[in-house]
Symmetry: C2
Subunit: 180 residues, 2 copies
């Protein structure tokens, strides 16, 4: 049953991506009263709106603004959780340019204030997803001038989050094992 | 000096509103390494975009969506903090219709997971701002069929956040006194 379910899930999810997996996972955590973790809305600046037939507010001019923080945060067993999630098609490394400096700054800040701060990085080609603690990333960037993190670093220093069925990406299991 | 500063501030801030006060306060907390608390971006659904002169992405059609959560969250001394902030022009009561059910549900959820959850309510006519714990709000709604909370309830059951200069609205002082 489990294999069947996973296989079905595997095909059903083709191309659904990391964001959808996290969405489903966070929904699962919420419904099962495990944690309260949300993705933040995309930051936009609204320049103009109209009111078509007075029914609703239509945004007719706006643009995307850089968020000051990461995409995800919330609470798990009283702990403040904060992370950014990215997926890469690259087989051999993760380009650091996919993260913004102020996001890394933010994660370090969270760590300093006793929160749990990390990255979730998926290598889509290998269909493998890793949880990398912000401290380990800092150690890497301090000791390396490379602009990308090799896949092998993830295999050695990060913790792999196995694909599942319910929830699809049980990252809190990793938190449970390694942080609490 | 302090009086002068506060007076100056008082006039300078006329009409700036609760949101701006919280923005400045959270910025102060961040810069002084006291806490990391942000307002979430307004949730919008984008239906269409264009790329004027290939320079940026312009949103040409979109609408506002209900957020599932509150506007503010973050971390203070390792504690997960979550709140919604509203101001009312009403002199005698705060209309509960200004809050959405799912926001109150969210705050209760946060409390259950050992976070600190509350409302910040400002009565603009009196220029007085209160921090109301979510549990106290629950007690009120359980024992009352009223659709608004009288001002006197805030005076008795909530904690007043005094207007200040730096930061303008030091709500963490209240948290410090009553929660930690």
């Amino acid at each position: 049953m489990r294999n069947f379910a996973r296989k079905k899930n595997h095909y059903a999810n083709r191309g659904m991506g990391l964001e959808e997996d996290l969405e489903q996972t966070n929904q699962y955590y919420l419904e099962h009263d495990i944690a309260v973790i949300y993705k933040k809305p995309t930051a936009v600046t609204i320049k103009n709106v109209t009111y078509p037939e007075k029914k609703y507010t239509k945004i007719t001019d706006g643009y995307f603004t850089k968020s000051s923080t990461t995409d995800y945060n919330g609470i798990y067993r009283g702990w403040y959780i904060d992370f950014e999630a990215k997926e890469t098609k690259n087989k051999t490394s993760f380009a650091l340019s996919m993260l913004q400096n102020h996001q890394l700054q933010h994660l370090q800040n969270i760590k300093k204030h006793n929160g749990i701060a990390f990255l979730i990085i998926r290598f889509t080609f290998w269909d493998r997803t890793f949880l990398l603690d912000i401290e380990k990333l800092n150690t890497f960037t301090k000791n390396n001038k490379r602009k990308s993190i090799p896949f092998s670093f993830f295999e050695e220093e990060a913790w792999e989050i196995k694909n599942g069925y319910q929830p699809r990406l049980d990252y809190l299991k990793i938190i449970e094992q390694h942080y609490l």
